[in-house]
Symmetry: C2
């Protein structure tokens, strides 16, 4: 839970799934999460080996984040969880999926 249960963890992994993304792009893609949150989650995910961080020595220095094999399995997991939660009784219908 601590690994994949963070508020923006799912979004981050999701946006990385199709290839590396730079920090600010990711930040824009997600929108609603502050840079601080993105940084925190990325650091955590990097530390856990779900995400890889690579500094590119381009002119204005840029940092690429990519999902690792382990991260992909985690994403699959989150997807299963989402599917599972979809078949829950309507009494538990969710209007806010940000935490899922």
């Amino acid at each position: 839970m601590r690994i994949i249960g963070g508020k923006w963890t799912g979004s981050i992994l999701w946006h990385l799934k199709d290839g590396p993304v730079r920090f600010n792009d990711l930040s824009r893609m997600i929108g609603g999460a502050s840079k601080k949150m993105i940084t925190e989650r990325l650091r955590q995910l990097e530390h856990q080996g779900l995400v890889h961080r690579q500094v590119m020595d381009t002119a204005p220095i840029s940092v690429q984040y990519s999902i690792t094999a382990l991260g992909t399995t985690a994403l699959g997991f989150l997807d299963e969880l989402r599917k599972w939660s979809d078949q829950l009784p309507p009494a538990f219908a969710q209007t806010d999926t940000s935490k899922v």
Copy 2:
């Protein structure tokens, strides 16, 4: 995450898996969780249909909690998650598994 991410959710479902358990028994089985938490989680799980609550009109009133089919699928899920987390790099070895 909101459904199964509560701190004691896993323990509760786990202890219910072999048949109905009464409130205080459950509380003792888990140990470390306050009655307030047990109550909160049980109410939430009941509301979500993972757990069934039945008041028995025995002499000293007793209440039985049992896991539903849906609850069993959730438990399977948590178990897969646990197995997955076991194969994470040792850098992420956890000394405290209470939240997992």
